[in-house]
């Protein structure tokens, strides 16, 4: 019984409850939020270290044995995802201190942020398919309220599309879980894995697998299911966009990787080929969507979609190296994309707009911020030696080794288009002279509160450093990713850890 496995639930839950209790105490809420986020990160690191040293960790809730009760399972992939969720929670918690308006703060923003983290961590750690559904619901409700909080008109419009499409996902997910229970008579993922290994009707299982693909695909934002994402990500306050960009789609990616390595490997000729094709289409349509935009956050939102393609490309190729590439890419992407959103927020902070036409002059006036933008932007485009390059390289190498030349060519070409669209932001927001000189009010706001400005930059610096570490010390991350991929490719280890020696 390792306490660090359940703390990723208890810490955000407690933090959220405490922030709700501190309804009228603003300083308290802020302190609780940052402390909770930090504790989550610390525990996640502890968990990862434990899994690395001692192998897959399992905890049966209420001590009801698997497959009858709910189990929490941490393999390396889960643990890595929890760590990165912790990092993002911490970065965004700090960033929120400066950017979040008082109104939203007093209407439960911090509680919702930690509820969201609760749902995310639960989804990463659960070993039960229905329980995964529950965490999805927690996440969905928390993110929906975060999105709608404030009730501004564009927010509501985005929120409605967001919630409708995600409810479709939930419905499909639930239907698929029900059908699967009908076929296999169990909900525990390890148990399911065992029973689906030699199914009575492989085609039926594959049919159900496709329902999961669509349900999780909606969450992950793959082609052609991503519509909710560009419709909503640019509407809430930037800290909310940032945490969404960091985690929401990635839970979908996580779930896809989990079920299509553990449960649905009966007919990879169909399932994983479909995934690979969708990966390519996701990359292309996402990046073209980004090229068509002229607003900082909209561009970034479409890039998320494009990059999701890379994350599931490794799943489609389905080799150890490819999955390691997917995992590496996912981690890299979370850091980089969140950071870009944070930078967009600073641009908004000093110039009061996200519109590229109205932005300008950041390079001249904020050289530090400019170079902090370049690091994640170039990394996103895959410029070496930053993190994105190694992610892309691992995937490309794995793709070539499996002779999947088309997807590799697509991935490389989309990298070029990504660079194009990052330079667009650079040229417009940073290099171009501002259309009109920044008003006195903006300048005063930016420079009058230098402390706030540096507090605002601190999470950006943290994430930029991580990007550099993922590049220069790519080996360390890759070794862990490869080991995680090995666990995914050989589910026996997972099944044994959960069910004991029953196999």
């Amino acid at each position: 019984m390792k306490i660090q496995l359940i703390l990723p639930l208890l810490i955000p839950l407690t933090t959220a409850i405490l922030s709700l209790l501190a309804w009228n105490w603003s300083t308290g809420r802020r302190a609780i939020s940052v402390a909770g986020a930090f504790l989550l990160l610390a525990d996640a690191a502890w968990l990862l270290a434990t899994v690395w040293d001692d192998g897959i960790q399992v905890m049966a809730m209420g001590n009801w044995p698997a497959p009858f009760g709910i189990v929490f399972v941490a393999d390396l992939f889960s643990a890595m995802m929890v760590v990165i969720a912790g990092v993002m929670g911490f970065a965004v918690a700090i960033y929120s201190l400066v950017t979040m308006d008082r109104g939203r703060e007093s209407f439960g923003y911090y509680a919702l942020l930690h509820f969201l983290l609760l749902g995310v961590c639960g989804a990463f750690l659960t070993g039960d398919l229905f329980n995964l559904y529950v965490w999805f619901e927690v996440m969905l409700m928390a993110s929906f309220v975060l999105l709608a909080l404030g009730g501004e008109r564009p927010q509501m419009e985005g929120a409605i599309k967001y919630v409708t499409l995600n409810l479709i996902s939930s419905a499909l997910f639930l239907a698929a879980v029900g059908l699967l229970y009908g076929v296999a008579g169990t909900l525990n993922m390890a148990d399911l894995a065992q029973k689906l290994r030699a199914p009575d009707d492989a085609n039926l299982v594959t049919t159900i697998a496709m329902l999961f693909l669509v349900a999780f695909g909606i969450k992950a934002g793959i082609f052609p299911l991503f519509f909710w994402l560009p419709a909503s990500y640019h509407t809430p306050p930037v800290a909310v966009s940032a945490i969404f960009a960091a985690l929401l789609t990635k839970v979908g990616v996580y779930a896809l990787i989990r079920v299509f390595t553990l449960l649905f490997v009966q007919d990879i000729g169909y399932t994983h080929t479909v995934i690979l094709i969708l990966a390519g289409l996701t990359m292309v349509t996402g990046v073209l969507g980004a090229i068509a935009q002229n607003e900082f956050r909209r561009i970034l939102a479409f890039h998320i979609i494009s990059q999701i393609g890379y994350m599931i490309m490794g799943l489609g190729i389905f080799t150890q190296a490819a999955l390691a590439g997917s995992i590496f890419y996912t981690l890299h992407h979370i850091i980089v994309k969140t950071n870009l959103f944070l930078v967009s927020g600073v641009a908004h902070f000093v110039h009061g707009t996200y519109d590229l036409k109205k932005l300008g002059g950041l390079y001249k006036n904020f050289p530090g911020l400019s170079f902090l933008f370049l690091i994640p932007a170039l990394s996103l485009a895959g410029v070496p030696p930053l993190s994105g390059f190694f992610g892309k390289l691992t995937l490309a190498q794995a793709g070539i080794a499996s002779e999947q030349y088309v997807i590799v060519a697509t991935a490389l070409a989309v990298g070029l288009l990504t660079l194009f669209s990052m330079t667009k932001i650079w040229l417009e927001a940073f290099w171009k002279a501002p259309p009109q000189l920044p008003t006195e009010a903006c300048d005063a706001k930016a420079l009058g509160s230098r402390a706030a400005y540096y507090l605002l930059l601190s999470p950006i610096i943290l994430l930029a450093l991580l990007t550099l570490i993922f590049g220069f010390a790519a080996e360390a991350i890759l070794v862990v990713s490869l080991r995680a991929a090995e666990q995914l490719m050989n589910p026996a280890e997972y099944i044994r850890a959960v069910l004991g020696k029953t196999s």
Binding site: F115, E137, L149, G151, T164, L211, V383, P384
Partner: protein, 768 residues
């Protein structure tokens, strides 16, 4: 370790350069120049060993999981480039101090140019292809930042973007090529690849490898049809043009192909492509250079042409051609660097770069005039200057093979234009009558003329005594490309052979071209019309096309209408799942569908009818009522299958939902049918298919042999272990208590959300 720190220390210096500038101000250029000079001296210390045939190789593991090492390799070819990079680099740093004196971003500029220098050294020293690619991309990035240095100018930004996109396109191809090379022979190390030449040439991936690597080299080295970015890049401050866009970076493609020659060359594909592309670029660049009047553009297009010469020689690939390439490359770096820096100095002092307006500066700028004369003579390949040897070997290598009369003819034509262009750019501004110009010209400060004078003087000294470099610096570079012993001795006087006569004829006719330039330009002015269908236009069209395609795609896909989104999502689910189900449609037995009792069929019928009603009625209230019937009928099903608690829940939820719906819908405008018959038919089709799919899956699933369900465990253990008689309750609070915790949390969040949405409006922020 020495090689690694030689490369990496440049990056460190680049990072701190802006702060050095804050302290050292005007002396920064001189101060920073010490760094490349020290590196120059460091590389000089290897010259003996390398000439003797030694190579230095160091390697440290970097990302062993991918097989990537931080490995560096120093042989004759690397060394020659290292000399150019560090030597010209030092002069450019000094030059920068004068040229951009007191520019507000000068500190950053130093940083960028040092960053470039370190990257470029990395390109020519890397042994690992991924290392080479890394530095290759960094040169593109630094080039981007430098071209866009005057970032508030629209044209600078466009030029920077253009250069970046073209070179990154090549970079992408190059990465692909390296990946395939690694797949083919299992190594990233160039020193290994060149040993595996035969294996690569016979590998099935050989053709894509060659094409991809060539695409990388051609874009970087501005070969036709990718050349257009280089003239555009003249938007950059002149030190950048002199350093990156003539002396070093644009030669990276030449370097790459020279480096890869042992691994990839000597096939018809390689020889044909490289030679042809090089030759076309050579003639094309020269022809356009001739009709330019902006000093920098003249030099830029002649650089394009010179790069074409080098490529063509590499393509021909004979011992003579490679000798000629190396000697020409060295000579070109010397005179072109000098001419570029002079162009900047003239612009700086006389206030214009238009050759038609520049004349008679010799008295005002005597030192610059001398440097210009020497550099121009070298470019024109006048004997006793170093440029002469490159040209001689160039002619010789083409003449030795009598199958190449076309190439030789094209080369002579190009060389004639070179003579004319050299006079135009290096001599014409200084001679003749002084024209009135905006500024009163005077001699440039030492920082501006030191560079050109040094380079031009080097061209003269080495022209007189070529033995100083031929065996020590040039021959090892030739060996590195050819991999077989050759002989090189540069001599001023070969006797009165046909090649020498051809050279003299070139000089004479080239001078003629200069004299009759304006008349010739008028004669060929009709060619100007062709300008609009050149590759530069292709670039603009491609960019516009990309943007248009992106817009169109996004308008269709991200239409903004929720109904289309839902339609696509449902259709996707149906197609992906249905495809598999259809494969064994025959195993579907519909018999079970009718194996029901009357009281089971009744609610089912009710549901169907109510659902149909909901879509057909013309009043919202009726539709809500119909949906309510669906809900209550579902609850009936629960009752029938002995789940009364579920049914109770369903009844209360349904009642509440209907009431809420009625309350809300009361405020909506009158019902109207906005959809056409066609869209309704389409939606019906999708809905029925999706419903049919779920039905079919259900039918199949219910026919599958069941594994023992986990529910038996709950039945058996509910009382003994959990002490509860209501199994559903026990499952909710015991066996699966965590689910319940999650659902409670969902409710709590929803409560917060409802409260906030009702109470909090950003308009009145301080509501608390």
């Amino acid at each position: 370790m020495g090689l690694v720190s030689a490369v990496l220390s440049g990056f460190v210096l680049a990072l701190i350069a802006p702060w050095i500038y804050r302290i050292a101000r005007g002396a920064t250029g001189w101060l920073l120049a010490i760094f490349p000079l020290a590196l120059f001296a460091y590389f000089l210390s290897y010259i003996g060993a390398v000439a003797a045939g030694d190579v230095v190789r160091v390697s440290y593991p970097w990302v062993p999981s991918l097989g990537i090492n931080l490995s560096f390799y120093l042989d004759g070819l690397s060394l020659l480039f290292a000399f150019l990079i560090t030597g010209i680099g030092a002069l450019v740093l000094i030059y920068t101090g004068g040229y951009l004196k007191d520019h507000s971003h000068l500190g950053r500029f130093y940083g960028f140019i040092l960053f470039f220098m370190a990257s470029m050294l990395g390109v020519v020293l890397a042994d690992n292809t991924m290392g080479l690619f890394l530095f290759w991309e960094l040169t593109s990035v630094s080039s981007f930042l430098l071209i866009g240095f005057e970032h508030e100018k629209e044209s600078s930004r466009a030029a920077a973007l253009q250069a970046l996109l073209v070179t990154a396109l090549g970079g992408m191809a190059l990465l692909g090529g390296f990946l395939l090379l690694n797949q083919a022979v299992g190594s990233w190390e160039i020193s290994e690849l060149v040993r595996q030449g035969d294996a690569i040439r016979t590998h099935s991936l050989y053709i894509p490898i060659v094409l991809l690597v060539l695409a990388g080299a051609f874009t970087k080295s501005a070969q036709f049809p990718f050349h257009f970015w280089l003239p555009s890049a003249m938007e950059a401050p002149t030190p950048v043009s002199a350093y990156l866009h003539s002396a070093t970076m644009v030669k990276a493609g030449v370097y790459l192909l020279a480096r890869m020659t042992p691994a990839l060359a000597e096939t018809a594909l390689w020889t044909g492509t490289v030679t042809a592309v090089g030759a076309v670029t050579m003639v094309f660049g020269a022809a356009i250079a001739f009709r330019q009047s902006d000093l920098k553009l003249i030099l830029a297009y002649s650089t394009v042409s010179a790069l074409g010469i080098m490529m063509m020689l590499l393509g021909v690939g004979t011992a003579g051609a490679v000798q000629a390439m190396v000697v020409f490359l060295f000579g070109h770096a010397l005179y072109k660097g000098a001419l570029f820096m002079l162009a900047g100095a003239i612009d700086h002092e006389a206030g214009t770069r238009d050759v038609n307006r520049l004349a008679g500066l010799r008295s005002a700028m005597p030192v610059s005039a001398a440097a210009g004369l020497l550099a121009a003579l070298s470019m024109a390949a006048v004997p006793a200057l170093f440029g002469f040897y490159g040209k001689e070997l160039f002619y010789e290598s083409l003449a030795e093979d009598y199958l190449m009369p076309v190439l030789l003819f094209a080369s002579v034509l190009t060389s004639m234009i070179f003579v004319a262009v050299a006079v135009l750019a290096g001599i014409k501004p200084f001679i003749g009558e002084t024209t009135s110009s905006a500024k009163q010209p005077h001699e440039a400060p030492i920082s501006l003329w030191l560079g050109p004078v040094t380079l031009a003087a080097t061209g003269l000294v080495l022209g007189l005594w070529p033995s100083m470099v031929d065996k020590s610096a040039l021959l090892p570079a030739i060996h590195a490309v050819l991999w077989r012993p050759v002989f090189l001795e540069l001599a001023l006087w070969h006797g009165l052979n046909p090649i020498f006569l051809l050279s003299m004829a070139t000089l004479a006719s080239g001078s003629g071209l200069f004299i009759f330039r304006s008349r010739l330009l008028r004669l060929f002015s009709w060619l100007d019309a062709l300008r609009d269908c050149g590759p530069r236009n292709g670039y603009s069209l491609a960019l516009a096309g990309l943007n248009a395609a992106a817009q169109a795609q996004t308008r269709v896909l991200q239409s903004g209408y929720l109904r289309y989104y839902l339609l696509i999502v449902v259709a996707t689910a149906t197609v992906l799942s249905g495809y598999k189900l259809l494969q064994d449609i025959e195993s579907l037995s519909f018999g079970r569908l009718f194996d029901v009792t009357f009281y089971e069929a009744a609610p089912a019928l009710l549901i169907l009818l109510a659902a149909f009603m909901a879509t057909r009625v013309r009043s919202r209230l009726a539709a809500i009522a119909a949906l309510g019937v669906v809900g209550f009928s579902v609850a009936l099903v629960f009752v029938l299958f002995s789940a009364p608690d579920l049914a109770m829940t369903q009844f209360s939820i349904e009642t509440l939902t209907v009431i809420l719906f009625v309350l809300v819908f009361y405020h909506l405008p009158r019902f109207a049918i906005l959809s056409s018959a066609w869209t309704r038919a389409r939606d019906t089709f999708v809905a029925l298919t999706a419903g049919g799919l779920i039905t079919a899956i259900m039918l199949k699933a219910s026919g599958v042999e069941l594994h023992p369900k986990i529910s038996t465990y709950y039945i058996e253990n509910s009382v003994p272990l959990a002490h509860g008689h209501n199994i559903v309750n026990v499952i909710l609070v015991e066996f699966r208590g965590l689910d319940t915790l999650g659902e409670i949390t969902v409710l709590a969040i929803a409560a917060v959300g409802v409260y906030a949405l009702l109470k909090f409006w950003p308009g009145k922020t301080e509501t608390r």
